[in-house]
Amino acid sequence: MINSVGLGFVVLLSAMGAATIERAEYDYYRYHPMPEIFKWMLQIAEDHSDLVTIVNYGLSYEMRTISLLKIGLNTGEKKKAIWMDCGIHAREWIAPAFCQYFVKQILQSYQTDPKMQEMMKNMDFYVTPVLNVDGYIYSWKDNTTRLWRKNRSPGPSGCDCYGTDLNRNFDANWGTVGVSFNCCSNIYCGSKPVSEPEAQAVADFVGRRKDDFLCFLTIHSYGQLLLVPYGHPNFTASNYDELMKVGLAAADAIKKVHGKNYTVGTSPDILYPNSGSSRDWARMQGIPFTYTFELRDDGTFGFKLPENQIQPTCEEAYQGALHIITHAHDKTFSSAVATAAATLWTMLVAVGVTCATQM
């Protein structure tokens, strides 16, 4: 008797946290400069304190904090995890917009969807809205900086250009293919593997927890592609067949939303060979489901995707990401047990919500 009341009380508290109404509406369908994104992160963590914490996990070259939102139910146990990062390339503005939408969507979905409730119980979502903070801020500076790609560390001595391509800087066949050693190039891979603090931050944080991660999704634009490892043409991922199968199903899910075609394949097949990507590094750490998303469009507007396309792009990409995440989750958490747990959990949340509305 006392046990069930105690349990009901705990559930009630968490349901109250989840039912908190959002304050001033954040516009997910416009591009936001970094200060607004950071303020949004604080607001989300405050509004959903039962589920969300901010984790600062590194410093950019210009000494800005690199932060992520950790989203999931605190069960007190070690949990499996999903990684998503956006904005590793500064000019790909639709990517940070998607990360923000993704966070909003999973929190919203949690309120009513038993599947999301189950996933939040079993896993933590680690979402970095803007990884290349310095580069993103620089791309907002004026009309001449909008198309900046790299980070903002200075080149080696003797070089008058700034920036390393963070997505060529990871320790994954570093410096072998699809890179330039010319420091002015937009695919300059850096002075050595993980020379850049932004890449180091990811490698440290994810590396320490690599056995926990089921998924590593890195979000870019443009091209409408889902890229699977590896970027080097001579290496094939051990689970390539599964990655393709899940990727193609994700592309189907994307197409069902607004009819857009996303091509699925390895980078050397459908785009170009490359090395030192975060996706390849993550796969080499043993994280099974690693994908690069290249969002809209196909080159019509390219990096300057009109704001009126933010919503449809986010909606379709969400379905694609959700498919991959759900597959990874279901593969790990046996479905029979999961269904029973989901039903029980839904019941408890419903009880909690009912009690909250009666107060």
């Binding site: 010319n182 190039s185 937009n186 695919i187 394949g265 507007f301 390219g302 990096f303």
Partner: protein, 229 residues
């Protein structure tokens, strides 16, 4: 190099098909007609002795403005040899000429012929917006860019126009409207942004012509670094 039957989703066919897009825009493009590659249906590549590589493609292109899609058959020849030379393209499409943009083109032409005053920058702006009255000049920029993108394309490049940095109207000459364009191209493989200055002429009957083109240095205040291996 991929030879024989090509996977239509893989980059060799996709890059060759993009070249066809550029070609179609140089032939048929206007302020009210811009084509984009929509789909590659099938492709074939072969080495041509001493002459380079030839691609045969079945593709669909989409008109940006009307959103009509058309099927095309095309051949792209990338010349071999030491110097990089422009690809040669032949293409035939189903319905290409039948889209009627005459009235709109005439209206635009008359408007800017009587008052040569156009001055615009940043099409699109940082947020992807283009003022509706400026859209035809963004289209014209895309068509003019296609001449450069066609010239510069190889099997190792994929070009899109990233932005019209600015466009200025010059005095009308020989009944052709004339414009100075500063255009930014995005090359996908190198991820570079390349600046070009173009002088463009257009009239509804004369189509789009590029009179002068000049690549601008990447960064005016940057020095070229020493080569590193």
């Amino acid at each position: 190099m991929a030879t024989g039957k090509l996977n239509p989703n893989h980059y060799p066919a996709q890059r060759a098909a993009k070249v066809v897009q550029h070609y179609l825009n140089t032939r048929y493009g206007s302020p009210y007609r811009v084509f984009f590659l929509h789909r590659v249906h099938s492709g074939n590549a072969e080495d041509v002795a001493d002459s380079g590589r030839k691609y045969q493609l079945e593709i669909s292109v989409q008109d940006l403005i009307s959103t009509n899609t058309e099927k095309c058959s095309a051949e792209v020849l990338f010349p071999g040899g030491e110097q990089q030379r422009s690809p040669h393209v032949q293409a035939s499409c189903e319905e290409l000429r039948k889209i009627d943009t005459k009235a709109q083109e005439e209206a635009l032409y008359q408007q800017y012929k009587t008052n040569p005053s156009l001055l615009a920058a940043h099409l699109p702006d940082s947020y992807g917006h283009i003022n509706p009255e400026m859209k035809p000049f963004w289209h014209l920029g895309a068509v003019a860019s296609s001449f450069i993108m066609l010239n510069e394309s190889t099997e190792n490049t994929l070009f899109n126009m990233a932005q019209v940095a600015n466009v200025t109207q010059l005095a009308t000459e020989n009944d052709q409207l004339r414009f100075d364009y500063h255009i930014l191209l995005h090359e996908m493989v190198s991820q570079d942004i390349i600046h070009w200055k173009l002088q463009v002429s257009w009239s509804p009957s004369g189509g789009v012509k590029v009179l002068q083109m000049e690549q601008l240095p990447h960064c005016h205040h940057c020095e070229k670094p020493p080569n590193t291996n």
